[in-house]
Amino acid sequence: MTTPTDDTKTTDYAAEVPVRLNWSQHAPEVYKAMIRLETVAKRGLDPALYELVKIRASQINHCAFCLDMHTKDALAAGESVERIVQLAAWEESRHFYTEKELAAIELTEAVTVLTDGFVPDEVYEKAAKHFDEPELAQLIAAITTINAWNRFGVTCRMTPGHYTPGGHA
């Protein structure tokens, strides 16, 4: 086990839970299509913004593997620890983020929690104020794509803790 810190020798952490299914090996053409989707969905989006979107969706969907990957990638790209830590409570820490980021985060939540209702008009309209139509289409595609990765990660119980920043690039 490589997580979480240097004190692993002295701390009695719980055992690592094994992966349920190596889905990318059993469905390589599905994995290939996911990689393609990821590549085209993020085109035209600010990479720092996209990491915030990915972290917030992964928090709501409880995807440990995706959180491991995207917090490490965000930190490696220069994102601050504070902005990552505060993201789960962004409504109370709005001053850590730009209005454009806040609109994107709010849209991320609405598009991620579809089962509770529709994407509210005010959320969509706020996003449409900050993103022009093509950029908004990409943002929606990007939110959709991280939701897709979250589903594979959670269902197949992909193991967090072993990701090296830049490892999926």
């Binding site: 889905w23 059993h26 393609r36 994407v119 929606i140 897709a148 589903r151 959670v154």
Partner: protein, 148 residues
């Protein structure tokens, strides 16, 4: 009702269509695939996707009783076989991730009815319909426009 925007990057649409095709082909059960896609679209409230997949299910010979009772399949369990029920339970668990993890018993029941290859593609299919649901609901693409 009009769409908020019809805009969808062509390459994104193509990538998602490729994902759908790969998942469906690997699962190799078009009737089951439609049941799964209808159930996810019910949970995600996607009118466009419901219209489309109800049309496709009927075209594949699915009956009105099984379609009509799908939202209450647990209470109409004798209409669906064990494999279908396992797939529907997995569909629900994977669609409502925000309320918790995919329970062991749901995953294990699916693993009884589907081998690893089928299961990987079923997981892919449930993921892809969740993706279409998000794209259509977010942009509020109206139902009724689909012809098979």
């Amino acid at each position: 009702m009009t769409a908020r925007t019809q805009l969808l990057d062509r390459e994104v649409g193509k990538a998602l269509s490729a994902l759908s095709a790969a998942a469906k082909k690997g699962l190799g059960d078009p009737v089951l695939a439609e049941l799964v896609m209808i159930r996810a679209s019910q949970l995600n409230h996607c009118a466009f996707c419901l219209d489309m997949h109800l049309t496709l299910a009927r075209k594949n010979g699915e009956g009105e009783e099984r379609l009509g009772l799908l939202a209450a399949w647990e209470e109409a369990a004798d209409l669906y076989d064990g494999r279908e029920r396992a797939a529907l339970a997995l569909t629900e668990a994977m669609t409502v991730l925000t309320e918790g993890f995919v329970p062991d018993e749901v995953y294990e029941e699916a693993a009884v009815h589907f081998d690893d290859g089928e299961l990987a593609h079923l997981v892919g299919l449930i993921t892809v319909i969740n993706s279409w649901n998000r794209l259509m609901v977010s942009r509020r693409v109206p139902p009724g426009g689909y012809t098979p």
